[in-house]
């Protein structure tokens, strides 16, 4: 049996999307030896799929203030947002976007050469009066340009990448980070990375749902590995369904389509958002619009009585469509065979974003309990983390902002931390538990394929844990997820090879998804209220008296155990949320 390869760095970053790359860039500028591990090539990361824009109160098009942005973020999150974090998000948005421009990001421009801005859901002027032009963008490939720009700058600064290394174990001993164990996909070898600080930036777990905008590789790896290492997961009951996924596929059509003037129509041709959000209409926050669509469909007003409605941009000029929405109109042509110049596009809500995740403070340090005790050397940022700037529902564009603001903060604080810290001792045989798991998986002769379990999991999560939830659906999901976990113990892979064994990796990923699903369902069942993306038909009102608090789910042998911690409220006291 080959011994694992041991690497030593000051910091290890797991995941090479926007959060990981921005942290890596900060560390490279500070001269800190850093390894960036990705199970893909960095430019394949899902940051690249973000389309519509990144909000910052630059005021290039009309009056705007970061306080308005902060308010929108807090209200959009149904007041579960930690307001100290939201203030940082809205304030640092401005310098972050400017820095991105300096790093080379090719933003669309105004006539006088400044960064152009457009409207986006839930972003308003003067505390909710009307939509405001706040989203800075590069056509409808803003995320692609962010990912490219950061990767380019990392190349310029000689960042050390380990491409196609899947992290399979997080090393935490006595509450502090020691490193990670990774599986090199190319040859199946195990690698131990010993480090003073570890940052998790692994993205979300959208593949736990049947209809999703998320990449196939978004399987909750970082969240599950943290959870298994004794870190709780925060607010996992809050999962966002984006209103406009391509019907049947879930591929995202950006809110920018509505920001540029596109509208939603039901099967009868009615602009139904007039009934649900009279002020912001189609640009209401995503949870509101997704519920409206589900409601229209449920009441028989989907297209031909089916489970989708229309997104219509045909009244926009072809120049606007071609210059500002080229990719998403192409998606409609390729995947549905419709021509958006003249025809409406069938859309349905698609699982999009986890508001919850690994709890962190505003310097992206992981915190492990209701007193926000820091786990020394452990950091997290982006979708896998919960800081919490999104609360119960994230506003459009705020995820790009989150990865950049808190990715950058993670890099800066890690640079400080490693200067004050010695390289920690590794636990004995750190790779051994993983090697045993992988060997058992590879050598099992009987059992069912991982794809079957993943499919059934995605079905039950979609049917019972999506936009509408009740005690009954959640209990059913809890039972099914429990059964699937038992079946997973006997999962079998067909590929027993060492080289590029993605069969084995997919089986691991199903395990991560099951962990995320179990926590999501448990936290959703416990929360007897409706708030943001968590809507309980049996408890349709928000209940600030009992539920204005974050959930923390910790792993035990008997399943997740829930605790709660208070929400940080600074400027904006909770009010009823109407649009």
């Amino acid at each position: 049996m080959d011994a694992p390869v041991i690497h030593e760095f000051d910091t290890v970053i797991v995941g090479a999307g926007g959060a990981g790359l921005y942290a890596a860039l900060e560390l490279a500028r500070e001269g800190v030896p850093t390894a960036v591990l990705s199970k893909l090539y960095p430019t394949r990361s899902h940051t690249g799929a973000a389309q519509g824009g990144i909000c910052a109160a630059l005021g290039n098009q009309e009056e705007d203030h970061w306080e308005w942005h902060m308010f929108d973020t807090v209200k959009g999150g149904d007041y579960l947002v930690d307001q100290d974090a939201a203030e940082i998000l809205a304030r640092e948005a401005i310098e972050t976007v400017i820095e991105l421009e300096h790093l080379g990001l090719p933003f669309n421009r105004t006539e006088d050469g400044r960064i152009d801005q457009r409207r986006f859901g839930g972003h308003t002027r003067n505390y909710g009066e009307a939509p405001v032009k706040r989203a800075c963008y590069a056509a409808d490939r803003t995320g692609h340009m962010i990912l490219q720009t950061l990767y380019q700058q990392c190349i310029k600064h000689d960042v050390r990448f380990f491409d196609e290394y899947a992290v399979v174990r997080l090393l935490v001993e006595e509450g502090s980070a020691r490193g990670v164990v990774a599986y090199r996909i190319a040859d199946g070898s195990l690698h131990v990375f010993r480090a003073k600080a570890v940052m998790l930036a692994t993205g979300g777990y959208g593949r736990v749902f049947r209809i999703t905008s998320n990449a196939h590789t978004l399987t909750g790896d970082g969240m599950a590995l943290a959870y298994r290492a004794g870190i709780p997961l925060e607010d996992m009951e809050f999962y966002q369904f984006h209103p406009t996924g391509l019907a049947g596929l879930g591929v995202l059509l950006s809110e920018a389509a509505r920001g540029e003037g596109g509208i939603l129509l039901n099967g009868k041709g009615e602009r139904f958002m007039e009934r649900y959000a009279p002020t912001l209409l189609d640009l209401a926050p995503r949870d509101v619009v997704s519920r409206a669509i589900y409601n229209e469909i449920r009441e028989g007003r989907g297209v031909d009585g089916k489970d989708y409605v229309w997104l219509d941009v045909h009244h926009l000029s072809r120049a606007v469509i071609d210059e500002k929405l080229p990719d998403i109109t192409d998606f409609a042509r390729i995947y549905q065979g419709v021509e958006p110049y003249t025809q409406p596009v069938g859309i349905q809500p698609t699982a999009h974003y986890a508001m919850g995740g690994i709890p962190t403070d505003v310097t992206s340090r992981v915190v492990i309990d209701d007193r926000n005790t820091v786990a020394p050397g452990l950091y997290a940022a982006g979708e896998c983390a919960c800081v919490s700037v999104h609360g119960a529902n994230r506003l459009g564009t705020n995820s790009l902002l989150d990865i950049l603001v808190f990715g950058r903060r993670a890099g800066r604080d890690m640079a400080r931390f490693v200067r004050e810290t010695d390289l920690p001792d590794l636990p004995a045989d750190p790779a051994e538990p993983v090697r045993a798991e992988l060997d058992e998986l590879r050598s099992r002769k009987e059992g069912e394929p991982p794809a079957q379990i993943r499919r059934e999991l995605a079905d039950v999560m979609m049917d019972d844990v999506s936009v509408f939830r009740t005690d009954e659906t959640l209990r059913r999901a809890q039972r099914v997820v429990g059964e699937l976990r038992q079946r997973y113990a006997r999962v079998r892979v067909q590929d027993s090879g060492a080289r590029f064994n993605l069969d084995l990796l997919e089986a691991r990923e199903v395990g991560y998804l099951l962990d995320c699903a179990e926590v999501t369902v448990t936290a959703a069942l416990a929360r007897q209220e409706s708030r943001g993306g968590h809507y309980r038909e049996d408890f349709p009102e928000r209940d600030d008296t009992n539920w204005l608090k974050h959930s923390l789910a910790s792993r035990t042998d008997a399943g997740p155990v829930l605790r709660y911690k208070p929400v940080t409220i600074t400027r904006f006291t909770p009010k009823p949320r109407t649009y």
Binding site: L40, Y41, T43, R44, S45, H46, G48, A49, I98, E99, E101, H102, L103, G104, P106, F107, N108, R109, E111, D112, G113, R114, I115, A138, A139, R141, H144, M145, Q148, T149, Q152, Q153, I155, K156, A186, A215, H216, T217, L249, V251, D327, F331, I334, Y335, Q336, G337, P449, P450, A451, R455, V493, Q494, D495, G497, A498, R499, F500, N501, L502, D503
Partner: protein, 232 residues
């Protein structure tokens, strides 16, 4: 509809040479080739190996040769291909396993053209100004997703693997023509090398192959034009 899917398989742990394997599938005409590959992997043969991630043409993982042309498997439908579909790895790159190729050489060429903004002036407090017209000059080449479809479709690259290739030139173009960048000269120097832009024979395979619709040959000609202008 019934489809005959032929996939080139190669597992270096067992095979001495690539072999073809056929699968009969009953599929929706609107299904993409990626869906077909998943059907095989998830329902018949878990050992079939291919890269994929986003599944909608933006991450660039699943470039492969499909019915004789380089494309993204997630961006081409069955009804565009017919009942006989043949899939093999990108040509001209070393095969690791089945449809997975070694991209390291491709990425080394990308890195060789300094694909990042260089501007050593002190950063202004706000954004650098750039007119819409200045921005439009390099818009097309910002779309590149580094999938490798263009470079591995290029006969000049097949004939001379040292050729830097269309993808690297596209990414050089993106900065050479960016009004904010100051390193055009050094990139033009790199690309005027014997393995630089002059290897392009304007065969247009790259334009055909690009899943992002980038007019790559035009970009290459603009770069070679700039080299000529500089030495004139």
């Amino acid at each position: 509809m019934q489809v005959n899917l032929r996939i080139q398989r190669f597992d270096p742990e067992h095979d001495t040479a690539p072999r073809w394997q056929e699968y009969q599938l009953d599929v929706d005409p609107m299904a993409r080739v990626l869906d077909l590959l998943h059907m095989v992997k998830w329902e018949q043969d878990g050992s079939l190996t291919f890269r994929r991630s986003c599944g909608h043409g933006i991450c660039g993982s699943d470039a492969m040769m499909i019915n004789g042309r380089n494309r993204l498997a997630c961006k081409i439908r069955v009804d565009q291909l017919g009942r006989k579909i043949s899939v093999s790895p990108l040509p001209g790159l070393p095969v690791i396993k089945d449809l997975v190729v070694d991209m390291d050489g491709f990425l080394a060429k990308y890195r060789s053209v300094h694909p990042y903004l260089v501007n050593d002036q002190p950063a202004p407090e706000r954004e650098r100004r750039q007119s819409q017209a200045q921005r439009a000059v390099f818009d097309d080449t910002t779309k590149c997703i580094l999938c490798g479809a263009c470079t591995s479709s290029c006969p000049s690259f097949w004939a001379r693997p040292g050729y830097v290739g269309p993808a690297a030139i596209v990414n050089a173009h993106r900065f050479i023509f960016d009004s904010r960048d100051e390193a055009a000269e050094e990139r033009l120097q790199i690309l005027s090398d014997r393995d630089g832009v002059w290897r392009c024979r304007t065969i247009f395979n790259c334009v055909d192959a690009c899943p992002r619709g980038i007019n790559i040959t035009k970009a290459i000609l603009e770069v070679s034009g700039a080299i000529v202008e500089r030495t004139a």
